[in-house]
């Protein structure tokens, strides 16, 4: 079998995942797109492992690890999304903009966004960061 087939499929899947991460509004859909990207990488790993006939089967072992890490990631990510939703009443990524630089109050970090009703001040400020870190992992 041509190596190009799995490689191209993996590349396209990855780009679809990228599009999803960048374009979806709901945080859970963003997580799904992240899963797509991870799977594209997994496909690459398996294909190259098979092609190279590695005696250690590093590719397949790494794929297993990736799957496990992805499972952990989805668990944590969902927990964070739930918490954000519970605190903010929304899981929309583009409404979590507390780190934005606003012309009115350039240095006022503690003042949450005016559109985020009932925002608890400090702990929720951390959540977008955490979510982002997980999303890019």
């Amino acid at each position: 079998m041509h190596l190009a087939y799995p490689a191209v499929l993996a590349a396209l899947l990855f780009c679809v995942g990228v599009y999803g991460v960048l374009a979806r509004r709901n945080a859970i859909l963003v997580l799904m797109s992240v899963e797509l990207m991870l799977n594209a990488v997994n496909l690459n790993l398996v294909a190259f492992d098979v092609w190279l006939r590695d005696t250690l089967h590093a590719g397949q072992a790494l794929t297993l690890f990736t799957i496990a890490v992805a499972a952990a990631e989805i668990g944590l990510g969902l927990a964070i999304v739930l918490m954000v939703h519970r605190n903010r009443g929304t899981a929309d990524v583009d409404r979590l903009r507390d780190t934005a630089e606003r012309p009115g109050s350039p240095d006022d970090g503690t003042d949450g966004g005016t559109d985020d009703a009932g925002a608890a001040a400090t702990p929720t400020d951390e959540t977008p960061h955490g979510e982002k870190a997980e999303a890019t992992a």
Binding site: V18, V21, L22, A23, V93, D94, L96, R97, D98, T99, A100, E101, P103, P106, P128, E131, K132, A135, T136
Partner: protein
């Protein structure tokens, strides 16, 4: 003790007294007065002792080199000849008198400790100038004197006049000091040494390459220090200082330094006929101009200031005709009577509560209120007007005799052009007439006023009146010692000759008679006005220093038809009262261009340089604004930018790799 040790102690004692006074001024106010008077007094006694031991004979020399100073060595050197010994005695005596007088005059002044310390430092610096045998050390004293004079003139710094006068003294004397410094260096380079004996030796052996240049540069400094035309304008304004300071500056220290310096280095100046001519013309203009200006002044101290400038012109004239003996003789006798004049004027101002002659002429009986000042001032004015047998007559005659000798081509000590002799002689005779006129005008208007009774403020402090009588002695009798002084001053006869004595005294008498006649006529013609309300000081019974300070702010009564000076001068009166508008000339020639240049610099700084600075700041701010625009807070935007950047990098890397592989 050896004479050298004594001589070293003379400038050192007032210096130590000054330092101690500055240190103890606040903590131990009780010591301030003894610390001010005693070291100065001791210095005066020691100076007299040194003079006695020197005795007009061979010069005492001592030198020690502290440290090697490159190509031109600088020594701590003493050089005491007859001139130095006598001038030091004068400085010591006048400074002692001023210090004693100040204890009464500035009795309640809160800044008396620093004032007394500065006067001591002033004295010490002048003594250093007098005794120093090294031009560099002399320059140190010269500059310290300048600093002290600026501070002392600005003693009443609360008044704008004092501040302005202090600044003016600084600027004008510095204008002369800069060329002076350059001249000193040029002289040292030509002569190869800063030692005065070395310089004079080099002059004697014809070792000077640029005598005219050096002499003219030095003359600028001398003109600044000794208030000669055209750098004299600071001296009348320096009247804003306390009267004892004026006495010190005018009689013994500051202005005497320039004349004394020229007398010391006269052979250098005599090398250049051009410099001597310049000096003669300068002296002539100074003499006549200042005498005319003195006739028109209303402030009693400004009259005396202009008279000082005129008498300094006499000394400069004597130097210009090559007779330094006559110059220093006049310096010493003038120092005595001018100090007396100023100190007496201070008493008069205190008693009258004003410094305006017009105001004084409207009060009667001032002479009765201050009899000591009245009598001593009369003596001093007679000396100033050169009436025999007072001190001024002999010294002025010495100057005129020297000028006559030079003009007629007789033998003189130093070669000098005959033109200089004629200039000095004519100007000197004319000034003799004018001097008598303004001296009499001052006396008449101060002590022969008519009008309301002068206010009674009680007796003047004993410290002040005693000093007046002490100084009256040399004013009266110093001239009589003239026959014994020849040995001190180069061994050249200083006795008057018949021609000049008759001419000078005759002209002085003529001036006095004319003034008196004019005064009588005007007084008879003028209606005897009722008691005119005069401007008066706020605290007439206070300390003399305070009265004078308040008098500085009083307006001067405008027109006074009974002023003989006005009738004497005619149309010249207005320009003369304003110092012949020299200040306006300076304003146009120097102040305006400097201000224009300053505003140009200000414009360049504000509009040009600042534009660059603010442009740098604004561009950073604009960039910051742009970057802030990028901070949307939307994670997806950030990620998009990140990934797009990665893609661009990847494409660039691949394209580059392909290009390299293809090549």
């Amino acid at each position: 003790m050896t004479t050298t040790t004594l001589a070293v102690l003379v400038p050192l004692l007032p210096f130590l007294g000054s330092v101690a006074g500055l240190l103890l001024g606040r903590t131990a106010p009780g010591f301030v007065r003894p610390l001010a008077v005693l070291p100065t007094f001791a210095a005066a006694v020691l100076a007299a002792l040194v003079a006695a031991r020197q005795g007009g004979g061979k010069a005492i020399e001592a030198a020690t080199e502290l440290t090697p100073t490159g190509s031109v060595p600088i020594d701590l050197a003493l050089y005491i000849d007859g001139f130095a010994a006598l001038v030091a005695v004068l400085v010591g005596v006048v400074a002692t008198c001023v210090q004693i007088y100040s204890t009464g005059y500035l009795r309640e002044d809160p800044r008396y400790p620093s004032y007394a310390a500065l006067v001591s430092l002033f004295t010490s610096a002048m003594l250093l100038v007098v005794y120093s045998g090294d031009l560099m050390v002399l320059l140190v004293g010269w500059e310290i004197m300048g600093i002290c004079s600026y501070f002392l003139v600005g003693h009443y710094w609360e008044t704008p006049e004092a501040r302005a006068a202090s600044l003016k003294a600084f600027l004008v004397t510095k204008l002369g000091d800069v060329p002076f410094l350059i001249g000193l260096f040029a002289l040292a380079v030509d002569a190869g040494t800063f030692r005065i004996t070395g310089v004079l030796g080099a002059v004697a052996s014809g070792g000077l390459d640029h005598p005219t240049l050096i002499a003219l540069l030095l003359l600028a400094g001398v003109a600044g220090k000794s208030a000669q035309f055209p750098l004299h304008t600071w001296l009348p304004d320096a009247m804003a200082g306390p009267t004892p300071v004026s006495a010190l500056i005018h009689a013994a220290t500051m202005v005497a330094a320039g004349i004394y310096f020229t007398a010391r280095l006269l052979p250098v100046f005599a090398e250049s006929a051009a410099a001597m001519t310049v000096l003669a013309v300068m002296a002539a203009i100074t003499m006549v101009g200042s005498a005319l200006a003195a006739l028109a002044q209303d402030d009693i101290k400004r009259v005396l200031a202009y008279s000082t400038i005129g008498q300094l012109g006499y000394m400069a004239g004597a130097l210009a005709v090559g007779d330094r003996g006559a110059a220093v003789f006049h310096l010493v006798s003038h120092g005595a009577f001018k100090a007396l004049l100023f100190l007496a004027a201070g008493t008069v101002i205190h008693a009258a509560g004003t410094n305006s002659l017009t105001a004084m002429s409207r009060m009667s009986g001032l002479a009765k209120r201050v009899p000591d000042a009245y009598w001593t001032m009369t003596v001093a004015l007679l000396a100033l007007a050169a009436i025999p047998p007072f001190a001024g007559f002999f010294s002025k005659e010495a100057v005129l005799v020297a000028a006559e000798h030079t003009a007629l081509g007789d033998q003189t000590i130093q070669p000098a052009p005959a033109g200089a002799g004629w200039t000095v002689l004519v100007a000197g005779l004319l000034t003799a007439l004018l001097t008598a006129a303004y001296a009499l005008r001052l006396w008449l208007r101060a002590f022969r006023g008519r009008g309301a009774e002068a206010p009674d403020h009680g007796r003047q402090p004993i410290a002040m009146t005693t000093v007046l009588w002490v100084l009256a002695i040399p004013s009266l009798g110093f001239g009589l010692t003239v026959t014994y002084l020849d040995d001190w001053f180069d061994g050249h006869a200083l006795t008057p000759t018949v021609t000049t004595a008759v001419l000078g005294t005759g002209l002085a008498g003529a001036g006095a008679v004319i003034t008196y006649a004019v005064w009588r006529t005007l007084a008879a013609r003028a209606p005897v006005a009722g008691p005119v309300p005069l401007p008066h000081v706020a605290h007439p019974d206070a300390d003399a220093g305070l009265v004078e300070k308040e008098a500085l702010d009083l307006p001067h009564p405008a027109e006074d038809p009974t002023d003989p000076g006005r009738a004497f001068l005619g149309p010249l009166h207005a320009p003369a009262a304003d110092g012949f508008h020299l200040d306006a000339v300076y304003r146009a020639a120097f102040v305006r261009p400097v201000l224009a240049a300053a505003s140009l610099v200000r414009f360049l700084d504000r509009e040009v340089v600042d534009t660059y600075v603010s442009a740098a700041g604004n561009s950073a701010k604009g960039l910051g604004w742009l970057v802030r625009r990028a901070q949307t807070g939307n994670v997806q935007t950030y990620l998009s930018a990140l990934l797009a950047g990665s893609v661009v990098l990847v494409i660039a890397a691949v394209a580059l790799a392909n290009a390299v592989a293809g090549a």
